[in-house]
Amino acid sequence: MKKDPKATKKLYINVDGYEMEDKFTGLNSNLKIEMLKKMYEIRHFENETEQFIIRGMIHGTCHLYTGEEATAVGAIYAIKSDDYITSTHRGHGHCIAKGADLNIMMAELLGKRTGYSKGKGGSMHIADVKSGNLGANGVVGGSIGIATGAALTCKMKKNGKIVVCFFGDGAANQGIFHSSINMASIWDLPVIYLCENNVYGMSTSIKEAFNIEKISDRKNAYGIEGLTIDGNNLVEVLNAVSYFADRCRAGKGPVLIESLTYRWSGHSKSDAQVYRTREEIKKWMEKDPIKRYREILIDGKILTEKDDRDLEKEVISKIQEASEFAKESPFPDPSEVEDDVYA
């Protein structure tokens, strides 16, 4: 990340028992503003997606990332642009943060030929290998082994890259979580397992699915490092992931980060949300990661209220362009149905 020349001496902070450099403060302003912009892009992309769903323009379901923006943006801005990520069924946020083209993404959601997967994948199957996004995944836990394999490539090719593997709290009880992290640990693979603990796996709360306080404590089963962070605080996410990314690059093996956050919308298209209360949702919405980050930037005189409003306006029109592009794009031709089954 480009450093601000003015910021010379390092500041240190303590996150869940780990002494780490406060990398955020040293970042230059443009980058700090870019991160806010990315969060807006995610927020408004999901709002637009919701509109498409309501208007019945999306065939299939979508899992919205609204409310969790700080985790994707903070984590992905903590690594290099050519590092890898693997994503989940709730993948729009990771995809946008990793630099995906909004037009091409939106086109995919509408099942258009101009989409990332030519309309074959949809919301749950967007990948952009060139930008280092190895793909969303419809199988809960399904990408944990793939991320581990990508980290093996990094190690064997000695290309200096690392992998950030996003997955949910629900995925942490799948067998592949266990066998993959153990393998990464014994082989010192450069992968950050980033568990987005948003309190629920569909309707099942972490209280019901786990008998431990912190999912990050599972690091002890593999002899690796790890911690739990405030996933709605972009600064903390960025600092923690930066700290462990350096560790991974130094060949010190994988880590397990638990990022505490919350999904604002229902699990998917159809969810009556009988399993949680309005109060709980309200409590979490007060911890809006965008509001919190915006305030940090405004207090830090990095942008003004007006800059902020302009930024958000700019993003909104960008999203409008994206949905125009998507709507105007052609559908694939039925004759293409068996293309791409094999390379």
Binding site: I58, H59, G60, T61, E108, G111, K112, S117, G119, K120, G121, G122, M124, H125, N137, G138, V139, V140, G141, G142, G170, A171, N173, Q174, G175, G201, M202, S203, T204, E208, A209, F210, V274, Y275, F331, P332, D333, P334, E336, V337, E338, V341
Partner: protein
């Protein structure tokens, strides 16, 4: 007494009635409690039966099936739910190497009375990992029984028989049938069994035999109606209902009459279950066939997302009609 029920309601009623009757029957699966299952099949069951018997599990398909199996050999009669049939792959060792083989490996010393309910099929725009028809993978495994109901009446009777069966039964439901008003039908209130291994002729006809499974039975019936009205062609539509054991006699009986067979399934045609049907018919019905056995099935690709592609991948009425006309050439 009968009432009109949806396919989903018929399935729920079968489970409710068996659970009231037999305290050894319980449900285990993901989001089956408050949420009532991804498709709402178990809505209201938590309230009636409580958490002990409606066991809301973490996302751990392999453990869900392992636990169901272990409880079955020790006296329970679990009904496990795998939310989407695509995810039986995660539990495939427990299904194919454990549950299916326990009776045989132990020389009949243990029994595995369990049902694995799962939602199969496409048409919902859920794409490659949430739309598959994987029945061929389980139908090939000795020790398993495989059931695929196509309507509310069959769904209730077959599920009751499956729960009463002392063997592991894979019960594959179809998402497009669950709530579709079009397929609402009369279902008796009382419990009744439909024997596993008995097919059913859903429409009689003398010109050609159509064998289909699950949702494709409904599509075949719609095609048959059109052909009858528009062209006076009378198709006999056979629903095999259970893939294993397979009622080959009902198929052969029909071919004796029609001399022609069209097999319709949703799974990709290559290596699909209808290959078995075609093979058995070509061997045992060779002398009665006056045309080659044809198959109408899914294209040889994963289920795509975009509606236009999905409709091309999954067989529709048009393809069934055309195949019938080709066969009657």
């Amino acid at each position: 007494m009968t009432r009109e029920l949806t396919y989903l309601e018929a399935i729920r009623e079968a489970m409710q009635q068996k659970m009231r009757e037999d305290s050894n029957v319980y449900l285990i699966g993901e989001d089956i409690a408050e949420y009532g299952g991804a498709f709402g099949v178990t809505v209201g069951m938590l309230e009636e039966f409580g958490r002990e018997r409606i066991r809301n599990a973490p996302i751990s398909e392999e453990a869900i099936i392992g636990v169901a199996t272990g409880s079955a050999i020790t006296g329970m009669r679990p009904v496990a739910e795998i939310m989407f049939s695509d995810f039986i792959t995660i539990a495939m060792d427990q299904i194919a190497n454990q549950a299916a083989k326990i009776s045989y490996m132990f020389g009949g010393k243990a029994r595995v009375p369990m049902v694995i309910r799962t939602a199969g099929g496409g048409g919902t725009g859920a794409a490659a990992q949430h739309s598959q028809s994987l029945e061929a993978l389980v139908a090939h495994i000795p020790g398993l029984k495989v059931v695929m109901p196509s309507c509310p009446y069959d769904a209730k009777g077959l599920l009751i028989s499956s729960i009463n069966d002392d063997n592991p039964v894979i019960f594959i439901e179809h998402k497009m049938l669950y709530k579709n008003k079009k397929y609402i039908a009369d279902v008796p209130e009382e419990m009744y069994e439909i024997p596993l291994g008995k097919g059913d002729i859903k429409k009689e006809g003398s010109d050609i035999s159509i064998v289909a499974t699950s949702y494709m039975v409904q599509k075949s019936l719609e095609a048959a109606e059109k052909l009858s009205l528009e062209k006076g062609i009378e198709c006999e539509v056979i629903d095999i209902r259970t893939l294993r054991p397979l009622d080959i006699d009902i198929i052969l009986g029909s071919i004796k009459k029609t001399g022609k067979l069209l097999c319709v399934e949703e799974a990709p045609v290559f290596g699909g279950f209808m290959g078995e049907v075609a093979a058995q018919v070509s061997e045992k019905g060779f002398d009665w066939l006056d045309a080659p056995v044809k198959r109408v099935a899914g294209r040889n690709c994963p289920v795509p997302y975009s509606l236009v592609l999905e409709q091309e991948m999954i067989p529709g009425i048009g393809r069934i009609e055309k195949a019938v006309l080709d066969l009657l050439g």
